[in-house]
Symmetry: C2
Subunit: 322 residues, 2 copies
Amino acid sequence: MNSTARTAAIGIDVGGTDIKGGLVTSDSRVITKTTIATEVNKGVDHVIGRMIELIRKLDAEAKNGGYDVPAVGVGMPGTLSRRHGTIIAPPNLPGWRNIPLVERLEKAIPHRVFLDNDANLAAYGEYASGAGRGVRDMVMLTLGTGIGSGIILGGQLFRGEGENAGEFGHMIVQIDGRLCGCGQRGCMESYTSARHLIARVTEELQAGQSSSLKKTLEQNGKIEASDIARAAQAGDLLAKTVWEDACRYLAVGCMNIHAGIDPERIVFAGGMSNAGDFLLHQIHRFVAAMASDMLGEFPDLRIAELGNDAGFIGAAMHTFAG
Amino acid sequence: MNSTARTAAIGIDVGGTDIKGGLVTSDSRVITKTTIATEVNKGVDHVIGRMIELIRKLDAEAKNGGYDVPAVGVGMPGTLSRRHGTIIAPPNLPGWRNIPLVERLEKAIPHRVFLDNDANLAAYGEYASGAGRGVRDMVMLTLGTGIGSGIILGGQLFRGEGENAGEFGHMIVQIDGRLCGCGQRGCMESYTSARHLIARVTEELQAGQSSSLKKTLEQNGKIEASDIARAAQAGDLLAKTVWEDACRYLAVGCMNIHAGIDPERIVFAGGMSNAGDFLLHQIHRFVAAMASDMLGEFPDLRIAELGNDAGFIGAAMHTFAG
């Protein structure tokens, strides 16, 4: 075992429901990982206490295993200030307003703490030890309720001057198109998010369209993006139409990312990405039909590999990035 | 005078009509500049001979002025290989196929030669000593027959993994929209290029629409983008409609660049940019009407400052970038 392998950083990823954490070596092996409930309703101090508890537990495990811990990486939902180490106003953590999180954690634990945006760290995790291994430039699109994204350029997280880069979900792909949650019209997100897919299926069912998803809705009281993917794969006509339309807009999104920053790879994470090759195949098909070959080789499209662990792995790995 | 100011690089910018060249200090003063005809019809050897002649002339002027010349930067239209120093197949230089230009120049002159794409070097010129001074991240859009672009990130030219980054003109802003020269539908270029503006005006005139541009066409035998800008400013209804529509699509292009890479500044060069504040004002107006304020502060929009000198200035300045 070489000296590098005796170093392992702690990464934690704080969400509205869970805090995930782990001990990760600089060569990206996960030594141990653990998840606890965030208990966000018990207030800011309580949650910070739970974070400290989790970090101390991982720290003890590092000591037992003979690992040096150089730093702790913490991923939190935005908005936050990396430079000041403060949480500004994250929509999913009510009550968190201008909290000097790094200062408070560093008082309680004997390590430097690096705070960053959870979506960026998840992208970094996939870059460092998941579907982005082996490339230097990568974009990750997280296909969830909304569309998140993270950019790696030259092996580093790219955030832009105002730290707002990577909002590819809000690229306009249809001027004067559908109203997006952000207030713009025609954003890629407004055609490809789980929210949009579910809304379209629900509308069509209410309009009397027949579909196997009607039964899903009756049985479960709701429809999820994964239900739509499954029904589309099974050949359900409504599901197929809605799914393929979303893939067509995702193809345009990838084409625009290619034209703009020409990354070597685009990685898909989040709900829709669980469809795996079924997703990639559809996107490839629309790219083949729509994209100009004058714009050079198309980025490699991949499904993310780390699932919900990407955030804490990226948080830990990014502390090694200097 | 400090020692830095005694160093001046030679930059040359080769176009289908002219070769522009100059001697530029590392603090971006243009000591001397000159333009000669490319005489592209006389063949590759002849043009390379003229380039060598121009470089020697500038080299002699450097010696007379007491300047050390560290290197020569050469901007050429694509396609080319920076790494191999070869010209591959530039559309505007017929007969140039796989020419080892750097090798041939370095045999004839006593300096290292750096070859790069002319659009990238023009963007670098504006960054280093024009409308991009003072920022680290900048995108330049060159509004010409087509839409060119160049990206500066962290003070360096950004080209992407496949060296095809910065094709913002080929971002799709209207899925299934107008057919673009690249073969895609709905590219920003297909709504904003001079080619598009002129085609739209010509179509409308042929359809019997009244406009002051009819007289322009009769007098000059053609209409140029600058005629449309002038007529729009003078209140001509057809010109105003076409111009404003192009500005609306440019606004969407800027919004997408903002969402994607969030540069501090977007600089406009080329024909349409001669309209100056008339262009910026219109784009700002459409951005204000369409853009979400949830995506952070909008980039600063500016008109390029160096005109046709941007290419050779960028070629020279980029040799100092290491």
